[in-house]
Amino acid sequence: MIPAPIPADEERRIEALRRMLILDTPPEERFDRVVSFASEEFEMPIVLVSLVDSRRQWFKARVGLEACETDRESSFCGHAIIQPHILVVEDALRDERFHDNPLVRGAPHIRFYAGAPLQLPDGEIVGTLCMIDRKPRTLDDVDLAIFGSLRQLVVSELVAHAEVE
């Protein structure tokens, strides 16, 4: 397993995330409805709004997963946030970064992962909207456009949350 890398702007990124005062807050319908919608649209068993904190990823919204956080080192989202484009891992068992990852070898048995980085207007990437399946999958261009559009809705809600706070 290749541990999730630390982005060059980590300090500013964490500062932006914590300034939002969203970590460890209760579930909110405006985020929950996006993950539910994505789960139905793409028939994905697990969909998350994952915020990548310094040592963990914490889930602001989740479908199909009991855990509310996991460690950052083994997180797929930790890999997704180092650049602004959607990261797609079609089969984790065939990817050198993830083939022996505990989240692949054990529960929740990730095989497919797609993570759309949540980039705030100031450029900092605080987490992802991500979709997970237990079998290999692919996304076509239309899927990616729909997924990217849902990501923008999550970013809009994060910005609105930050403005309220």
Binding site: V142, S149, L150
Partner: protein, 154 residues
Amino acid sequence: MAVIHAPRPIPPAAPVAPAPMAPPIDLLLVEPHFLVRRTVAAVARDMRLADPREVTTIEQAEALLAASSFDALFLSLDEEAAALGLMARVRNGDTKCARDVPIAVTAAACATPLAMRLKQLEVRRLLLRPFKVKGVLDAIVLLRQPSPELHKAA
């Protein structure tokens, strides 16, 4: 009462045109569900399929159609009677739109009387809930195509 579950099913592999050469069409999109409406509108714009005008009610659509013309209409039948009335007025030429403007609709269910009425109103595509955003985009691609009557005339 007979219920038509999938009057015109979309094949799973039906491709959405990836990069259409024609410019985006002016589309009136009436959809009360926020995520469906915003996602369809955003992706249709991104793919240059359409430049949707988004409204949530038939009343809002009526007001727009009284003032503006559109290349295609995509209507939710959540307000079934009002939506059917609006489509009838469009087909009668009582709005700014062309009488033969392509129309697609979404509905929760479609019994035989509704299916017959939609056929009379020359609705090109019916999507039954729950539908996928991808299915709506496929329907928009269909709305971009010339009507069969235009084919005949050409």
